[in-house]
Structures are given as C-alpha cells and as structure tokens.
Amino acid sequence: MSATFDSVADIINEVCSIDRAKITPESHTIDDLGIDSLDFLDVTFAIDKRFGIKMPVERWMQEINEGRSKVDDYFVLKNLCLRIDELIAARPA
C-alpha cells in the first residue's frame, strides 16, 4: 500500500496544491484536506490514468447514500489506497 499511498499523495499535492506534509494515510479527503467534488474529479482522473484503472466513484457514492458503506471506507486515504490496490489487482492482464 505504501507505494500506492505515495503516488496518491503526490497526485493530491500536484492537483490540489496541498502541502505534501499534510497528506497522511489517515487524512480524510474532505474533512482534513478540504478537497471539493470538482477537485476530486481531477484527482480521480489522475489516479485512473496513473494506475490504469477506473475508480467506481459513482457506485461508492451510491453505497454511502444507501447506508451500505461509510464515507470513511472510501475517502480516508489509507482505505482509498486499499480500494485502488484491489482495482489494480483486478485489471485484466
């Protein structure tokens, strides 16, 4: 997960101009880093391209809205990185 976190943190730093030192695995993208929905689109695009995946953000939001998941499950960085790793592992060869 560490390499994934480093890449994601670098992306957030570059896309959102957030101090790299403030970005930790425990950081909440909204509550701690203040990333709004439009910036998160840019972050998602960069992550999708960097890792060759398509993060299913709409599905995650639906799960949250329907109470089947919590916001922290996807928007705390250590959890987001775990989801990214799962998507990478599921990529077709």
């Binding site: 439009l38 689109l41 840019d42 695009f45 391209k49």
Partner: protein, 150 residues
C-alpha cells in the same frame, strides 16, 4: 454558430463511436452584437466562445456515446490554447476525441481548425449526470437533431 442562443455548433460532419471521436462544422456569423464589443474595429470571436464550441462538440459526442441517457456538463478546462484570431464569416472544423471515460465524468481532447490549421485546442472535462428535467432531455435531443446527429 448562433451566439444569441449559445449554440456554437452548426452541423455534424463525422461521428465514430468506436474511435470515440466527432467532427462538427461551426460557421462564425458575419455580424453579431458580440463583435461590436469584441472589438470595435477588430472583430474576433471571443476565446471563451471557441472553448464553448469545443465543449459543445465534446458534449454531442458524449450524448451519442451514452445513447442520450445522461447529460454532459462542462466541469473543467485544461491547457486551453487560443492560437489564432478567428474572424467573422470563418468556417471552423471542431473536433473532439475521448481521452478518458471515468466514473461519472469524461475527458476529451478538442480542437478548432480553420483550413486545416489549429486555431484553438483544450482538454475538456465534463461531468455526466442524469437530466435535471424531462424538458431538458427533450430539448437536447432536438438540438442534436438540428445538427444532424443520428
């Protein structure tokens, strides 16, 4: 281009759903109140309208790719370059190609050309959302029909 109605695309010229690219025709009007202000004695199409032409062309592509089931809304523009002045009565070819299909958003690379020469280009990000109203869905379909979209 109908500036007053904010319709920047006149006609579909080519649509390739497999390659996910589109080409449209946009003819700059000979006269417009826009030119009276932009600028007196030097009428040129405002850069923001060139960007809007690229965004609308991208939008038509995405409408077709989503079978008109979702509405693309402009969300961001990156690396926009306005390379040349575009004068009244100019015919432009506006193209867009999907760069990335994300979850609930698309990114296109779009370009305006005059006589085969690029005059503007940009990376366009659009959010893909459910239509806010049935009226809007019907109207967008009419707009698409007007320019000859299948």
């Amino acid at each position: 281009m109908q500036f007053d109605y904010f319709q920047m695309v006149d006609r579909l010229e080519a649509l390739d759903l497999e390659a996910r690219e589109i080409r449209c025709r946009a003819e700059v009007p000979e006269t417009s109140t826009v030119f009276e202000g932009h600028f007196p004695g030097h009428p040129i199409v405002p850069g923001v309208l060139l960007i809007e032409a690229m965004a609308q062309t991208s939008g038509y592509l995405l409408l077709a790719l989503s079978a008109y089931e979702r509405m693309p809304f402009l969300a961001g523009i990156k690396e926009a370059k306005l390379r040349s002045f575009v004068r009244p009565a100019t015919v432009m070819s506006v193209t867009a190609k999907v760069e990335h299909e994300g979850s609930g958003f698309w990114v296109t690379e779009a370009r305006c050309e005059v006589g085969g020469r690029p005059v503007a280009d940009a990376q366009i990000m659009l959010r893909s959302l459910p239509y806010p109203s049935e009226t809007m869905r019907r109207t967008l379909r009419q707009f698409a029909d007007r320019i000859g979209m299948p």
